[in-house]
């Protein structure tokens, strides 16, 4: 009796752990694999690090959250490997990310790739463009809440790029391929001037 009770407690604990790591009740296999992806991506810049980290709505929210003490603006790009202008602009975004990192700019690339393609297509493409980033992937049964969270006026066209200042206020947006000079000018206004 005692033994069965303790194993029940263990089972409950396992349930809680699975739910809390994914932030939502997911299929067990999925939850485990996304957790694995998390661990791998956190560890250095190996090939496996380019495997996208799965985000749900809460995950996106915490990615957007700005810490007032850090004063770091966020450049966030929504893309997919199936989107041609997304692929075309990616090297420009990587260059901008590198140029502004020392001036306090955070960068995130969030993929909307199809579930059945994401594990292979995203790392393949990122390797091809020599991206040294921690990629994210939004996996939602309905993308609308995420789209609205980013910007209520965005209707979901890809690519779309948004710049949030250090306070988390949306200060620049562009749907369609970025114009690097225009984006740099917008970033210049929100980053610190000292290099």
């Amino acid at each position: 009796m005692r033994r069965s009770r303790s194993s029940l407690a263990l089972l409950c604990g396992a349930f809680l752990l699975t739910f809390s790591t994914t932030g939502r009740p997911a299929v067990f296999g999925q939850a485990a694999s996304s957790q694995k992806a998390n661990e791998k991506s956190a560890s250095a810049t190996t090939a496996a690090a380019l495997k996208p980290i799965e985000l749900d709505l809460e995950g996106l929210k915490s990615l957007l959250r700005r810490d007032p003490k850090d004063a770091r603006p966020l450049l966030i790009n929504f893309w997919a490997t199936w989107c041609e202008p997304c692929r075309e602009e990616f090297p420009d975004l990587l260059k901008i990310k590198d140029d502004y990192r020392k001036r306090g700019l955070d960068f995130a690339a969030v993929s909307f790739d199809f579930a059945e393609e994401v594990e292979r297509a995203v790392p393949d493409f990122l390797r091809q463009v020599k991206a040294d980033i921690k990629p994210y992937w939004l996996n939602l049964p309905d993308p609308e809440p995420a789209i609205r969270m980013i910007d209520p006026t965005w209707t979901g066209g890809l690519p779309s790029t948004f710049l949030f200042d250090a306070q988390g206020k949306l200060v620049f947006k562009r749907t369609g391929r970025i114009r690097p000079a225009e984006l740099r000018a917008a970033i210049d206004k929100v980053v610190t001037s000292d290099k």
Binding site: C83, P85, P143, I147, R148, W154, P159, G176
Partner: protein
């Protein structure tokens, strides 16, 4: 005994008040939440009337909206032959178009991508759709309507007023669909009822407009 009964009664009354107040406050909270999350207003958004326009199909033949529109309403759908999201929806769009044509709702495809040729559009349309696909050269109609991506829907009632704008449904994987806002809107119009959800957002390909490329 009577005292107890009175006390119980008083307690019941108080708890009724409390639950009532709680329900009211949560209602007003929900109301505020919905207001804040209201959909975007496009330049020519929901409620606007679309003026008649004429565009040519891939064969060069001219068609006016007034000639192609349905007696009960018209679905304008911005398409692309390259966009994988449109590809995922091709079958569903055609099924909807077929199902509603008999009920007086006509579908009209619009291709505003400067990167896609008339020949490609023609061969794609002939193998996938039974409804006409018009070429929106220089994205004139797309700009007038405020269309940005494919697939993107503008559903017009019989008087060409936009009554729904947005997506077909909530998932490009047919097996995962749980909300079908376009057919809900069409059904509402056919039943003479107001459309409940008039604006939705979804992931799609940006229209490759001439000016932006």
């Amino acid at each position: 005994m009577r005292k107890h009964l009175a006390l119980a009664l008083a307690l019941a009354v108080v708890s009724l008040f409390v639950t009532g107040a709680l329900a009211a406050s949560s209602l007003s909270f929900n109301g505020a939440g919905n207001g804040a999350g209201a959909g975007p207003a496009t330049a020519r958004g929901v409620g606007a009337t679309v003026a008649d326009f004429t565009l040519s199909d891939a064969g060069g033949q001219q068609h006016a909206l007034s000639a192609l529109k349905g007696a009960k309403g018209t679905v304008l759908v911005f398409l692309s032959i390259q966009c994988p999201v449109v590809k995922a929806y091709d079958e569903r769009i055609e099924q909807l178009a077929k199902a509603y044509k008999a009920k007086g709702i006509n579908f009209i495809g619009l291709n505003a991508n400067s990167t896609e040729t008339a020949d490609e559009i023609k061969s794609h349309a002939s193998t996938h759709y039974t409804f006409p696909v018009l070429i929106d050269r220089d994205n004139k109609i797309a700009d007038q309507l405020g269309a940005e991506r494919t697939p993107e829907i503008f559903f017009l009632d019989a008087s060409n007023k936009i009554v729904y704008h947005g997506r077909i449904d909530n998932n490009r994987d047919k097996a995962m669909v749980s909300k079908s806002e376009l057919s809900d809107a069409i059904e509402a119009v056919l039943a003479g009822k107001p459309v409940a959800v008039t604006e939705t957002a979804s992931v799609g390909c940006t229209i490759k407009k001439k000016k932006s490329y």
